[in-house]
Amino acid sequence: MAILEIKNVSKFFGGLAANSDVSFDVHEGMIMGLIGPNGAGKTTLFNCITGYYPPSKGEVIFNGRKLNGLDPDKVCMLGMVRTWQKVRPLAKLSVVDNVMVGALARTSSLKVAREMAMEQIKVVRMEHRTNFLAGGLPIGERKKLEVARALATQPKILLLDEVMGGLNPAESEEIIQLILDIKQRGLTQMVIEHDMKAIMRISDRIVVLTSGEKLTEGSPQEVVSNPDVISAYLGEPHA
């Protein structure tokens, strides 16, 4: 069953179509990869889906419910949460307090929230950082903190925006394992990533965006053997 349906979504910034007429479904329990060159409109699509701004056109349907115009906090309460490509730690709060903020979406008790937070800190293997200030963490751990905090809101679907960006191979590998672990627990995920090898390994399906439009969609094998995808990437080299 489709947990998330994206129907003809367009987003204009002045004259620029950052997303135009993008449609696809995300099914329950799967990992949907979202790839495309820099500036293709991947982050913009996440922003439209999670209510950061409403799409200019089209519909986003989550669990059968139309989301258009719903604020991010309402979207989160319905069970959809995202991480930020440019990480957003609550710098002056400790790691556990950061994750507790997420957990407090589901409970009013600090005690319960702390337990929920510790659980997610364990999932991302950051127990040794529990009482560190988030602002002082290295980038790899900031990325993991984003994931733990999002997980603490008890989502049904998790949207990850380049959680491996800027990480070294060992750290990336750890994130890949983390994403696969999360899948094991039955959570649906949508993952933006530039690292082709990684996205091939983890995705059940992949959507390719270029210049705001959906170029193609299919299994990882179908996508990499598609000549259009190859030329889109070779035509526009990226970091």
Partner: protein
């Protein structure tokens, strides 16, 4: 564990000590200074909840201070309503003002709240000047006597000495401290700080930004209004500049900037610095001191200049103080103290 016991023991001793002071200190001036200190701590603590914890910097808290003070005084003066009833009317009035500002500004991104907070305080000040039938205009309202506080037929206090005001002031300090402590140790405090640190992150984690900013504003405004009502009945006089002027707003903010925003002890430290400082300036203590130690001749031109002008120089001095604090202690005195303590701990290990 030991540390928490020590801490609570210290706090209890402090409160008991403060409760006992009026028994042993008779000097009205000393009590007056303590009352000013209490008022400052209560003001700072109230601002801190919204500004320090939720990161919404109001430059117009005089609006809530002044509306609280005026409401209580107007009701007492024209309708004979006793202050401890008028106080509630003051709180109700500031809730209305706060919700009007909040519901408009907190939907918008950007510095609208800061700007609107200044504007609203100015509107209140101008209204107080011009709504003469209600407020007695620029002359202000003078309360010649405060009705005795009775429970049933027993007179609890008749407000003749400063002692009852001392205890009310102390109560206000404890109240604002307790509210801050409660905020800090509840979901509210987490949401406030998340909004302060990163509004978009907070929003995406399920926090209703506008709602929680409004809650912070209402709590802060109500407590500030209490301090205002207290000021009104203590001084027995309100007029537009002393309770609704921009420098009232700035002073409230400075208590937190200097002491340390978003910490429980910040406003206390800030008040311990600002209240004696402004008193020293007001009473020309600095000039007198310079004369006494022989640095300045009282009858020389410099001496006369200082005597005439230094008491008005508090705004300049505050400015210098703020620049110094922002340059050298961006997290205020409290942040500075914490940093020192952290360094010492690290060295001890």
């Amino acid at each position: 564990m030991n540390k928490t016991i020590l801490k609570s023991a210290f706090n209890i001793l402090l409160v008991v000590g403060l409760l006992l002071i009026p028994r042993y200190v008779e000097s009205p001036y000393a009590l007056h200074m303590m009352i000013l200190l209490f008022m400052s701590v209560a003001q700072g603590q109230s601002w801190n909840i919204l500004g320090g914890y939720a990161g919404q910097h109001s430059v117009g808290h005089a609006a809530y201070f002044g509306v609280g003070a005026y409401t209580t005084m107007m009701l007492m003066h024209s309708k004979g309503v006793v202050p401890w009833v008028g106080v509630w009317a003051g709180m109700a009035a500031v809730v209305v003002v706060a919700l009007i500002i909040g519901s408009i500004c907190f939907r918008l991104r950007g510095p609208y709240f800061v700007l609107a907070s200044i504007a609203v305080a100015e509107i209140m000040r101008l209204s107080a000047i011009n709504l003469t039938p209600l407020t007695n205009g620029a002359e202000g309202i003078l309360a010649t006597e405060i009705p005795a506080f009775k429970i049933g037929a027993t007179v609890v206090t008749d407000f003749v000495t400063k002692v009852p005001f001392y205890y009310i002031g102390l109560f206000l300090v404890l109240l604002t401290l307790a509210v801050t402590y409660w905020v800090q140790h509840s979901k509210l405090g987490y949401f406030f700080q998340a909004i302060r640190e990163d509004q978009d992150a907070a929003h995406s984690l399920g926090i209703n930004i506008a709602l929680y900013k409004n809650i912070g504003l209402v709590i802060s405004a109500v407590l500030t209004s209490l301090a205002g009502s207290f000021y009104g009945i203590y001084v027995g006089f309100v007029d537009p500049p002393t309770v609704l002027g921009l420098d009232v707003s700035v002073q409230i903010m400075l208590i937190c900037i200097i002491g340390g925003m978003g910490t429980i002890w910040g406003p206390v430290l800030g008040s311990l610095i600002l209240v004696p400082l402004s008193e020293a300036l007001r009473s020309n203590m600095v000039t007198d001191l310079l004369v006494k130690i022989g640095m300045v001749n009282a009858d020389s031109r410099i001496g006369i200049f200082l005597k005439e002008n230094l008491s008005h120089a508090h705004v300049l001095l505050y400015g210098i103080l703020v620049v110094l604090v922002i340059l050298f202690m961006p997290d205020g005195l409290m942040g500075f103290v914490k940093k020192l303590a952290a360094r010492r701990n690290r060295e001890a290990v």
